[in-house]
């Protein structure tokens, strides 16, 4: 129907620690160095334009990286007037890392490391979205977007307290605990009722 794959026209922001289970898994560490306190404001990062991989494309895993972490998420696509215009499925890949003290640029801003769904869906209640992640056809993760620390409206309000999201910007709702690992040769499918499935294949970088 629409042969041109969707790519964002604005900045893509990711959100850390916005699933309850993800937050709880780190809770014991939050009072310890280097964090010293639980986060107060939303913890955001940017998926720069060099990371964008349309649906169906092959994503290169850098040489020396055995596995990547698959962060399936839903992005709120900002429309006119700063309201959410639509939703998109996203595959936020990371080189696995244990510390969240410093910005994750070298782990998350690698070329190709954001799979982007082919099409947008008009907004329904985002808390009703259920996402499934399959690797080579095998179900690896189910994500329930009713389990957010900050539901979409709260997240938008708390982010809007310090920065304005412009039309075309994308704000990800977060990636739940239990993010599967994938390696070169794997096919990753991220699906949700009402969305076209987002598929990407990993390939090892050749020198």
């Amino acid at each position: 129907m629409n042969p041109t794959p969707y790519l964002p026209s604005g900045t893509v922001y990711g959100t850390l620690l916005n699933f309850r289970a993800e937050h709880e898994a780190l809770a014991a560490q939050m009072a310890q160095p280097p964090y010293k306190a639980p986060p107060k404001a939303p913890v955001l990062y940017v998926k720069t334009a060099n990371t964008w991989s349309p649906h169906g494309s092959v994503i290169t895993v850098p040489s020396g990286v055995a596995e990547v972490e698959v962060g399936a998420s839903v992005g709120l696509v900002i429309g006119e007037g700063g309201l959410v215009g639509s939703h998109v499925l996203l595959n936020d890949l990371s080189i696995p890392h244990a510390s969240f003290f410093r910005p994750p640029v070298k782990f998350k801003c690698v070329d190709g490391f954001l799979g982007i769904g082919a099409s947008l869906r008009r907004p329904a209640d985002p808390s009703a979205i259920r996402v499934e992640v399959r690797i080579n056809g095998e179900l690896k993760q189910r994500i329930d977007f009713s389990q957010l620390v900050r539901p979409a409206a709260t997240l938008l309000a708390d982010v809007g307290e310090f920065m304005t999201l412009a039309p075309g910007d994308v704000l990800m709702l977060g990636c739940d605990l239990g993010r599967p690992l994938a390696r070169a040769g794997d096919r990753i499918d991220i699906s949700a009722p009402g969305f076209e499935t987002l598929s990407n294949t990993l390939a090892q970088e050749t020198a």
Partner: protein, 256 residues
């Protein structure tokens, strides 16, 4: 050449820095030849639009003295964070300071503007990928610092908090970007002085480092960090961040 992008007579125009009333760079010569004093123009960030949102990388703790000032040991690899374009404003604009905060400081930084697509660039070739330079003032509000992806976006990605300009200076006009004097004045008092030669990770290193894992595109920015000497700025303060050969970027703090 020192290029500017300005709004004049209700539309965006390009021009170059021009002398006015005996003062260098005090005006802009528009492409139609008219010379307009700076005070009659609205300056935009001096960057051409890009087909995709530009990547704005910014360095923390990239001068040994500043790292010391902030009680951090010098990093072993670049400490980098990313901004969105909404943080950028032009020369002679206003930056908003939330009324209750205790410590909001400027950061005078050499900004590198990428000139051509850079992927796996070697240090010795790095300058071939620089299109030009400008001045950035990378304000931070320390009250909002948290130790999660620090410096977090609430500190560093606020609307209006990254003035940029006034000029994009062609790379060929800056023969040694690693030997430029920087200084900041607040209401005319010098509060920060340094030299780009004191960067921990210099421009060629940074281009090599980033382009190893992320392709840099024309118009992408690298803000290279700030030296010692940051002080709190209050409502109405006029902050001028200045770099030798590159320009003097004027900004006014406005409380809200």
């Amino acid at each position: 050449m020192k290029h500017a992008r300005v709004i004049f007579e209700g539309r965006e125009q390009h021009g170059v820095a021009h002398e006015h009333a005996g003062r260098p760079d005090a005006a802009v010569r528009l492409d139609d030849g008219r010379v307009v004093p700076q005070e009659d123009l609205v300056f935009l960030p001096p960057l051409a639009p890009t087909p995709r949102p530009r990547t704005i990388l910014a360095l923390g703790l990239n001068y040994a003295d500043h790292a010391k000032e902030l009680e951090f040991k010098a990093p072993e690899e670049p400490l980098v964070f990313v901004k969105g374009q909404a943080a950028l404003i032009g020369h002679r604009q206003r930056t908003r300071r939330p009324a209750p905060v205790q410590f909001m400081h400027y950061e005078c930084e050499l900004a590198v503007v990428i000139g051509k697509t850079a992927r796996r660039v070697r240090r010795e070739d790095a300058y071939d990928f620089v299109g030009g330079y400008t001045v950035a003032n990378d304000y931070a509000i320390r009250d909002y610092l948290e130790n999660w992806y620090r410096p977090n976006l609430r500190v560093k990605n606020r609307d209006t908090c990254t003035p940029l300009g006034p000029w994009l200076v062609d790379a060929q006009d800056v023969p040694d970007p690693m030997a430029l004097a920087l200084r900041t004045t607040v209401n005319g008092q010098v509060t920060q002085q340094g030299s780009t030669r004191d960067m921990i990770f210099d421009v060629p290193f940074l281009i090599e480092y980033f382009s190893r894992f992320m392709t840099l595109s024309p118009g992408d920015l690298i803000l290279t960090g700030t030296p010692d000497g940051v002080v709190d700025c209050r409502d109405g303060d006029v902050v001028v961040t200045e770099i030798e050969r590159i320009g003097a970027l004027v900004n006014t703090i406005e409380e809200y």
